[in-house]
């Protein structure tokens, strides 16, 4: 609380990002965990809640002509909030407070340590046990004749960013592992990520070897040989370096580098150029600038999108995943994947490949397991990458965001293949940044253990699982062909298949998205069908018994059924309400012209309030009585929980913290 200089500011205006002419007047509150804006309009009292940990930047903008002070808050979940504060002093105080609040220095300051979903100890523990990696390796068929669990890293003695339990070839002795680890960046030795029990092919991961220009390591060579031999059918092993060749070569000068095919027996070495975290960070930055453009033209947008390179990078990651999945599924060849440290690109590529290979990872539970396995357990640096604590801004990069987008791109191509829907991905992304749950804290398993995360915080997976009805894809069916076996995305021509994900990057601009949700509608239809079928069954039974006793009171029951039917429809049929947007933009020349001047040859007349009889100050204001405000999220039954998208709605969980 000591960081809050100004707990409440009145008469603040919240600007609508799409339509700058729309603004709502309200009060701004700063709490220990949230920035809250409450609208003044008495009938709605709409609230906008923003978690401090979601704030990525705060910018004081130039004072407006009317002497007000705009403050721009950009969030990691791609929300952009523009506030106008009447007093300079207040603005500055809010600014200074937020700067500090958005950059906590201790883990203990993060929301998850104060977040209390009112679960008892037992439920909390059960939540953490929902995803169990040992169970997952068992599911893959491990341990077996070739693979075993190794305790070489107990107490994090060999590699502090690896989990304590790693799966390695049976033939790799502790000596080999330790030797190999000394020849790898940050001692991240090759370990199993995915095993395909149908053909013994596997995906292993590591960091780059410290080969420099000529260094060799016998143990490392033996390690790779051991991995190759776990797949007796195949006589070679792919080693995939996910970096651009130039980057990898540059690393050699620093005593790092890549495997020399001559030194390792029977490997095939392959570069797949995915750019590094710095390139990705600036790419996202550029793309978000495009998203933030005020009424851009189609060309502005496409040009900006191309210039950002974002989709190119997404495709590079996907291509690497496709290559590996193909090697494992079609060629039956095992693959060792690394980049530099083996915790960013390697995590992306391994998880994309796993997702393509194994339908289990396309279920909701399986997806949680996948993130837990390839990201959390193998020491993806969540804290550094997503800036949970104040740190080096050069460490921040949207690595997992890119993976999540890859999944979405696949969902677009294979609409029936995933058990979960787009909303699930968006909420996972949100919580990676929210720090509301402990799952993604710190940079490694070791740190999390030291912090006693599992005792002190709650698991996101349990929370999502509890609300899974919201996240189901109605088109998913266990016996559908798309839910079987390996997914094979179209390879060429395919560039046009990669699309801009407005559901994520313009997530809060609801007006941009399809105004009716097919997913929600179909889900409702599905539930309704199920209900009807159940009732039908009950009715059938009842009828049978009724026919025996010859009673005729069935009318009532069937009427109820009618009502049910109607109910189902009305909840599913979202109010189609919407209002016209600004269709007359791009003509900025207007304000400088006086309306009367343009009589002769009005070169750029625009539809504005001046030349309309209407006194409505805003053409695009929602003045339509028949159409309410459309909000997709308000339909979902559990939005009373802690759904992250909520810029509205009182959130019982979060409201608790208002009082702190």
């Amino acid at each position: 609380m000591e960081h809050i200089r100004m707990p409440k500011v009145e008469n603040v205006r919240l600007l609508d990002r799409v339509s700058s002419r729309k603004a709502t007047l309200g009060t701004l509150y700063l709490t220990a965990t949230h920035v809250i804006f409450v609208e003044n309009a008495s009938e709605t009292r709409k609230e906008t809640w923003v978690l401090h940990s979601q704030i990525s930047s705060i910018e004081k903008q130039a004072t407006t002509a009317t002497g007000c002070h705009p403050l721009l808050i950009r969030c990691k979940n791609f929300q952009v909030i523009q506030l106008i504060i009447p007093q300079e002093r207040d603005c500055h105080d809010v600014y200074i407070s937020l700067i500090r609040l958005a950059r906590p220095v201790k883990y203990e300051e993060l929301y998850c340590f104060s977040f209390n979903p009112k679960l008892d100890k037992e439920e909390q523990e059960r939540g953490w046990k929902l995803v169990d990696l040992n169970e997952e390796y068992n599911r893959m068929g491990i341990p077996n004749n070739y693979w075993q669990i190794s305790d070489v890293n107990r107490d994090y003695g060999v590699c502090d960013s690896y989990p304590t339990e790693v799966y390695v070839p049976k033939s790799a002795t502790a000596h080999i592992i330790v030797g190999s680890s000394k020849f790898r960046s940050r001692r991240r030795f090759p370990a199993l990520s995915y095993y395909c029990k149908d053909n013994n092919a596997s995906i292993c991961r590591s960091s780059q070897p410290l080969s420099g220009f000529s260094a060799r390591c016998l143990e490392d060579e033996l390690m790779l040989q051991a991995i190759r031999k776990t797949n007796p059918e195949s006589d070679f092993l792919y080693v995939v370096d996910t970096r651009p060749k130039l980057n990898a070569m540059a690393n050699r000068a620093a005593g790092k580098g890549y495997e020399n095919e001559d030194n390792y027996s029977n490997i095939k070495f392959q570069f797949i150029g995915i750019e590094n975290i710095h390139v990705m960070r600036s790419s996202l930055q550029k793309m978000l600038e495009v998203c933030e453009l005020k009424s851009p033209s189609m060309s502005d947008f496409l040009w900006g999108l191309e210039n950002s390179g974002w989709l190119k990078h997404i495709k590079a990651i996907m291509d690497a995943g496709i290559f590996i999945a193909k090697a494992v599924a079609e060629e039956g060849v095992s693959v060792l994947v690394h980049c530099s440290d083996g915790w960013d690109r390697t995590a992306q590529v391994c998880s994309v490949a796993s997702l393509l290979l194994d339908p289990y990872y396309r279920t909701m539970k399986g997806f949680m397991v996948l993130i837990e396995k390839d990201w959390v357990s193998f020491g993806h640096k969540f804290n550094h990458r997503y800036g949970n604590l104040d740190g080096d801004p050069k460490e921040i990069s949207p690595v997992i965001d890119q993976f999540i987008e890859c999944v979405w791109q696949l969902m677009e191509q294979f609409p029936c293949a995933f058990e979960f829907n787009e909303r699930f991905l968006i909420h996972v992304q949100h919580h990676i940044y929210s720090c509301q749950f402990g799952n993604f804290l710190c940079n490694s398993q070791k740190e999390r253990q030291e912090l006693k995360i599992q005792e002190r915080t709650y698991s996101l997976w349990a929370h999502l699982w509890k609300n899974r009805a919201d996240y189901l894809n109605p088109l998913y069916r266990l016996d559908h062909s798309q839910t079987q076996g390996t997914l094979r995305p179209q390879i060429a021509p395919c560039i046009f298949l990669y699309k801009f994900w407005s559901g994520m990057y313009n997530r809060f601009e609801k007006g941009m998205h399809p105004r009716q949700s097919v997913t929600d509608y179909l889900m409702a239809v599905k539930e309704e069908t199920q209900q009807l079928e159940e009732e039908l069954e009950v009715l059938g039974e009842r009828l049978a018994s009724l026919q025996k006793v010859q009673l005729n009171d069935n009318e009532v029951k069937s009427k109820q059924q009618d009502q049910n039917k109607e109910l189902g429809r009305s909840t599913s049929n979202i109010s189609l309400a919407n209002t016209p947007q600004e269709y007359n933009n791009n003509l900025k020349s207007f304000p400088s012209r006086s309306p009367s001047q343009g009589d002769e040859e009005d070169s750029a007349l625009i539809l504005t309030q001046d030349n309309l009889k209407s006194s409505d100050p805003d053409l695009s204001a929602n003045s339509d009585q028949e159409s309410g405000v459309e909000d997709l999220s308000c339909r979902s039954p559990s939005s009373g929980g802690c759904l992250p998208s909520e810029d509205s709605g009182k959130d019982s969980d979060e409201a608790v913290f208002l009082t702190i």
């Binding site: 189609m298 496409l302 060429a492 313009n506 009716q516 039908l536 016209p580 070169s603 625009i606």
Partner: protein, 575 residues
């Protein structure tokens, strides 16, 4: 002219057909007056052939031929050696680029055959006479010639309006196409303006297209009119009747909007060639808004460039986006939707009447008026309502010159004349609306694709000719079948319906942000990418929705059987 004269080779054996996404098949190629057929013989001799290709030759946009001599030696140049050449393996490949954007390849043994086939197809596909088109020869057994032609009479549309207001009348001033050759015989005009005034106003508008009613907004009684540009010319001519006509549309103290689909600059320039705009001084109560929309040649070029980029498989991600940007197609989609929204906004929100025109009033004007109606009027969003809208705003009542605009598609090497894909742009905008409002259109993407195909090459007469006058002269309604008759057959109709449709009485305001506008993959990549997984998803949606319906029916049936058993029980009791 006889078609037979154009066919140099009628059949060729052992032709290899290939196309994107299809396994190549070998068979016999036949050229008829209107079709290209390829039938394969899977079994031995005598087994019935399977027809692998049945292509309307009118659909062919470009023919490219490549001949190669695969022989080992240069054959001696004697008369008798011609056969040897062929045996030695000379062959040719013909690439057929179709108006529906499909690309087919025919590998034809024998150089001479190949050249003959190519020139036959070229000649047949460039027959330009309307009366020689296939619809005049097409006689399906299960359709009646007259069916579907008079489904949407303007009289009916007028009657609807007449129940609400008496300010409009149906005029027969154009009975013999004298006032305006591109208008139908009947038009809806202000009741206060007599035919004589209409005739005079027609002389003041390009092509005689005086302002007529296009849409009556029932909610508030405002109207949308359309016309062509006024012929003010360099001397700023005026026309009292035209001013009167527009004046009577507005009540005392009301103001209206003129949406000019040209830039202010272009409108001004049009004065030099006799056209122009309505000057403020003579139309004081009309506010002019300029919303430039692309048309004509630049629009056709945009279409060509887009299709070119879509077919270029060598593109990287970056190049693809810049090609997509530089062809500007999506910009045109955005501009068309925005302008239509503006028109709709004027009517619905500002409660003001609107007049839409560009230059000729047969292209971008219709794009705007048709889209605005789809946005405003739920009646236009049903399958039948949409057909009616097309008849009113594109075909019968509006006289979009389909024959000129759709003569060639994106592949043609022929010199561009009057081709422009305005109708395709309209269909694309409708698709965008359907994407943003997936429950609000009764029809699905498939209908839009079928309309695109038929506008460019069809067995039906619906899109023939440039206007009603031409269609009358050619007796299109008497001698060809209507596309609607075919579409509206129950088993056919089902394919075009949107299973998610539920009537939405509200105005559907689309988002026109670039993030909300997508490339219509179903059209531009129809023959390039496999849509297997998307089709499966669609089937799944259909299954879910139909399952729901059947279980409802079942429960209804159950109810029925219940009440039956109830009555049975009753009668038993009575007994």
């Amino acid at each position: 002219m006889e078609f037979a004269e154009l066919i140099k080779t009628a059949t060729v054996e052992s032709v290899l057909l290939s196309g994107a996404g299809l396994p190549p098949v070998r068979g016999t190629l036949c050229i008829t007056s209107h079709h290209l057929l390829l039938s394969s013989r899977p079994g031995g001799d005598g087994a019935p052939g399977t027809v692998e290709l049945w292509l309307l030759i009118r659909n062919v946009d470009a023919v490219e031929k490549r001949v190669q001599n695969l022989g080992w030696y240069q054959p001696p140049r004697t008369n008798s050696s011609q056969r040897d050449t062929r045996l030695a393996g000379s062959s040719g490949t013909i690439t057929l680029r179709c108006k529906d954007l499909k690309v087919l390849q025919l590998e034809i043994p024998g150089m001479e055959e190949c050249l003959n086939v190519a020139s036959s197809i070229e000649a047949l596909s460039s027959v330009d006479s309307v009366m020689m088109m296939y619809p005049f020869f097409y006689r399906p057994q299960d359709l009646r010639l007259e069916a579907g032609w008079h489904l949407f009479p303007l009289e009916q549309y007028y009657q609807q309006i007449a129940t609400q207001t008496s300010q409009w009348r149906l005029s027969g001033v154009n009975r013999d196409f004298a006032a305006c050759p591109t208008y139908p015989p009947a038009v809806i005009v202000p009741a206060a303006v007599d035919d004589e005034a209409l005739r005079k106003a027609a002389r003041f508008r390009q092509g005689g297209r005086f302002p007529v009613l296009s849409y009556y907004h029932q909610k508030n009684g405002t109207v949308m009119l359309r016309s062509s540009q006024p012929l003010t010319g360099p001397n700023r001519k005026r026309c009292r009747e035209d001013e009167l006509l527009l004046g009577t549309v507005l009540d005392e103290g009301e103001r209206g909007f003129i949406i000019d689909t040209r830039s202010a600059q272009a409108a001004k320039q049009a004065r030099m060639t006799g056209g122009g705009t309505e000057p403020k001084s003579s139309y004081p109560r009309w506010k002019r808004l300029h919303r430039p929309l692309e048309r004509g040649r630049p629009l056709q070029e945009s279409f060509i460039k887009l299709v070119d980029a879509c077919n270029d498989t060598s593109l990287t991600m970056d190049r693809w986006l810049s090609r997509l940007e530089s062809c500007r197609w999506l910009s045109h989609v955005k501009a068309a939707l925005s302008t239509a929204c503006l028109a709709a906004q004027c009517l619905d929100r500002e409660e003001a009447c609107v007049l839409v025109h560009g230059a000729e009033g047969t292209d971008t004007t219709l794009l705007v008026t048709a889209l605005a109606q789809l946005i405003l009027d739920p009646g236009c969003r049903t399958l039948a309502g949409f057909q009616g809208l097309l008849e009113r705003e594109w075909i019968e009542q509006a006289g979009h010159p389909f024959h000129l605009r759709c003569a060639r598609s994106a592949y043609s090497h022929a010199r561009l004349k009057q081709e422009a894909p305005l109708f395709l742009l309209f269909l694309d905008c409708v698709w965008q609306l359907g994407r943003q409002f997936p429950f609000s259109l009764e029809f699905g993407e498939r209908l839009l694709l079928t309309l695109f195909d038929n506008a460019y090459a069809s067995s039906y007469g619906t899109f023939l000719g440039n206007n009603e006058k031409e269609r009358c002269l050619c007796k299109v309604k008497e001698s060809t079948h209507s596309l609607w008759a075919w579409l509206n057959q129950p088993e056919e109709k089902r394919k075009y319906l949107n299973p998610l449709y539920s009537r939405n009485a509200l105005v559907i305001w689309p988002s026109v942000e670039p993030q909300s506008i997508q490339l219509w993959q179903g059209l531009f990549f129809r023959w390039i990418r496999s849509s297997k997984y998307l089709d499966e998803a669609w089937a799944e949606i259909q299954r879910l929705v139909e399952n729901d319906d059947t279980s409802v029916e079942e429960s209804a049936g159950n109810r029925r059987s219940q009440s039956l058993s109830d009555t049975a029980a009753q009668t038993e009791n009575e007994r």
